[in-house]
Symmetry: C2
Subunit: 523 residues, 2 copies
């Protein structure tokens, strides 16, 4: 689909591919509406909500419902032409294929050369923002981190014009877990990834003191170099991170006071960085969808796919995650993998998820959520076919575990849940310096230190949540060309990378969306 069917769109209907036996209403269709679609007359026999599907052919019970040219599940009853197709008559029976003979990476895209203005760091990475981070090792030091950050308001920050702000990355765990078990390792990776993030000009790690995720743990297992006794001189070291604990400082009040002094020094240090031209190959763009609706896979996700292809053509990195939402469309990424080994890594992560949810007698395809369903998405395969279009069309180069450092160029997968804050936190920990976030129902997500560009899937929601939406992909339903829209979005992304503020940055969001995903019991 490089262009949405203009005449159908003008009817308030999209019929994506000729082989599809369902079409999508783009506005509520009244019962009894008669449409002329692909050469035949169709009478809609009940009201079809916007974003929902109706049959454009008879589908016998047990046979596939086709959308995007792919099966999205089977009819559970005889479906007649004009019937609403949703959870009452459609179910998914997706089976993951382990056949690696389909692996056949596409030819590389034509090279592009673009730049943005970023903060060049000592390790060669480039930041799109320049924050000072207060990172909490455990929930027990969360309030102190927030109280310190709150002391650096807009007025006071004028002293450090090159710094975007001071933020607190606090969380709900850090103790009562198996020492160096899966839960602690995952958390450690996230904390280390944030502390060394290219968008972080300087960082202070703050703990209580008796937690399991101590400074010592981070030093030993995550290579954090600590400066236990920071002075002005020591803080000029590029790789040193001061670490404090409340127990050694004498409690809440003393810690806040001392941390405030440290943060002033860190701000002086971060303020020495200024923006300079950088090649777009330094971009690490995370893609995400949240609050999907029936349009996500038709408009915003394919448009993000175009941006992903541009980023890869520039030599940059595009990161898709949300493994639970790749399930159902994993065969498309398997076929595009660089090697069978890369494809196998993806299939291994999907198998891990199947085993994991089975421990709780759950199913990986419990998704789509109630909100997704209200928006017209019926099955996980349907949602995933739409979700995976965020990855564009380039070769899958690598598969990363959650929150591990991303070093490959090109398109990569990071394993994560679909849950927005946990998924984005993992990609940012891996090094994402820009996030493209599509939403149909209307998410208000923001994430410090990485700017999040929110893209509406439909014009109605774009208008009703104008303060929160950066871009509108709903224009694709009105006949705009996908490549044109994608190119505009890419230009906007480069502007944001260079410092243009996103809606969520203007609104000051991102202080409570740091959500490290961890697996394993809280003891």
């Amino acid at each position: 689909m490089s262009k949405v069917n203009e005449s159908a769109a003008s009817h308030g209907v999209i019929h994506l591919r000729p082989v599809d036996n369902v079409a999508i209403a783009t506005a509520t269709l009244a019962a009894g509406t008669t449409l002329w679609l692909s050469g035949r007359e169709i009478c809609v026999n009940r009201s079809i909500p916007a974003g929902h599907k109706f049959a454009v052919a008879s589908i016998p019970s047990g046979l596939p419902v086709i959308k995007y040219g792919c099966p999205i599940g089977n009819a559970t009853a005889a479906v007649f032409c004009g019937d609403h197709v949703h959870t009452h008559n459609l179910t998914d029976h997706h089976v993951v294929s382990n056949d690696l003979t389909t692996v056949s990476p596409p030819s590389p895209p034509t090279k592009l050369s673009r730049t943005f203005d970023g903060f060049h760091r000592a390790d060669g990475r480039v930041g799109t923002r320049n924050y000072v981070a207060l990172i909490s090792t455990v929930n027990c030091s969360a309030s102190v981190c927030h109280k310190v950050a709150e002391r650096f308001d807009q007025q006071r920050m004028k002293r450090w014009p090159n710094v975007d702000g001071v933020f607190a990355a606090t969380h709900t765990t850090g103790c009562a877990m198996q020492f160096n078990g899966i839960k602690q390792k995952m958390l450690g990776r996230v904390l280390a990834g944030y502390s060394r993030h290219p968008n972080v000009g300087a960082c202070l790690i703050l703990g209580l003191g008796c937690e399991q995720t101590t400074a010592g743990y981070l030093t030993e297992h995550q290579g954090i170099v600590s400066l236990y006794a920071p002075s002005g001189e020591k803080l000029t070291r590029d790789d040193g991170i001061p670490i404090m604990t409340m127990q050694s400082e004498g409690g809440t009040r003393a810690t806040i006071a001392k941390a405030e002094t440290f943060v002033e020094q860190l701000l002086d240090r971060a303020n020495m960085f200024t923006r300079a031209p950088a090649d777009a190959s330094a971009l690490v763009v995370g893609t995400e969808c949240g609050g999907s609706d029936g349009y996500s896979g038709l408009t915003a996700n394919p448009a993000v796919g175009v941006v992903s292809d541009r980023v890869v053509a520039c030599g940059g990195t595009s990161v898709i995650s949300e493994t639970t939402e790749l399930y159902g469309a994993e065969h498309l990424l398997v076929a595009r993998s660089r090697t069978p080994e890369v494809a196998q890594k993806l299939l291994d992560r999907i198998q891990w998820w199947k085993d994991y949810v089975a421990m709780y007698d759950g199913q990986i395809d419990n998704n789509p959520s109630a909100g997704n369903k209200a928006g017209g998405l019926t099955t996980i395969t349907e949602k995933s076919l739409g979700a995976v279009s965020k990855s564009g069309s380039t070769t899958l180069e690598e598969v990363y575990e959650y929150a591990t450092p991303i070093t490959s160029k090109g398109l990569v997968v990071m394993d994560s849940p679909g849950f927005d804050p946990a998924s984005v936190t993992g990609k940012v920990a891996g090094g994402a310096n820009l996030v493209l976030f599509t939403t149909g129902r209307g998410s208000c997500f923001g994430c410090k230190p990485t700017p999040v560009i929110k893209i509406a899937t439909n014009s109605a929601m774009y208008e009703s949540m104008r303060d929160d939406m950066d871009l509108n992909a709903g224009t694709l339903l009105e006949g705009r060309d996908l490549q044109d829209v994608g190119e505009e979005f890419f230009d906007f992304a480069l502007e944001v990378a260079s410092g243009r503020k996103t809606c969520s940055e203007e609104l000051g969001l991102g202080d409570h969306e740091f959500v490290p995903w961890t697996v394993g019991p809280t003891l």
Copy 2:
């Protein structure tokens, strides 16, 4: 132990019971120190850190190490008199007994009659505080909740002198989970418990709109009565809770503005409550330990046990939780259970935990934490024998699942992890209107809407973290009488229930420690 051995304490050593084959150093003992203890000379053959144990008799490899008069594990090597006893030569092999023939509830304590000044609610419960709560159904509305709460600072709150403040209860989940599965049920119970808490004079529930834990879910599954279109008139209903979503309001900015107006109305409503004398039977006291050390079980926990006994004698409720830390001492609670059925419920929860951690190849006795071990605790049985002393000596009346409403009087158990914020959040959700929190290493925990009294286990930490510690149980090491200290702590608890601020309230803590415990995958 009603009195710590005075002469031993003056040596810097505690030998708790005559049968114990270890003693505890209360200050670092230098290598070569010679002590006269229970009629024999003991030479400490290496330096013993404060809080750590040393042998006062030879213990052959494989035989029990005895403390509190109970086995705390077995020696893994031959231990000689004067040896340091810790992880290098002591390990735990605790086996849970399912023998219910030991159930034999103690006779009830002599009735006490005490009062405090509290906020009498329509359902008969009594608050010790009077907050307005902003409750987030999902992480996606967390920032908005915090931004609304921040608008009601101390200056502005002078308009509502009977209200303690506006706080935001936000969390990291609420979506991407099995619908009405264990994870959502647990979260739903916590949110409902906070919204109806006796310390909450009025409440606003705020969501994004497309999450799984919607207003509709809370209404259907948790009995939350919503007022979808709140007006001044409707807000006078006692049982109505206004619920808003960001998607229906048009995004972040519009939601904050409208919520601010609602909160003003809710403050007017909450401000109509004033303190009036209440019987102490309305107290629901949660007990907790966090950042335990070698003194927790010697000083602060037994002192809290005395308070628990007083609360029960008044007809009130005492809630112990931290199931992972009851493990190892569950036989003491089994023996004190009201009925075999109550004892079985406790054993069932312990079995659940064993099965749960086994799914991750973990062990329930992974605890004590690194911090605990540094403080001198070696085994979970040792820690648990000390932890369970918070429950005092009365009959165990009931066992509750996490975050369920507590309706019994007397001593009860609520299932929870030991992790402080998750454990306290569950007890508060169950209705705890006061929390007694013991700490050896020095926790700075606070929790809105319930005041938390922090009790130091030792005078050194009490002095070094003076701003955070409300009470000092370290005086028990200097020869004070346990019943006297417990009585003083109970008097202090009644003052706090009547409005006296705790240290964590003075410091403004409790906005980031709302941590609903949930089990099951994030999808």
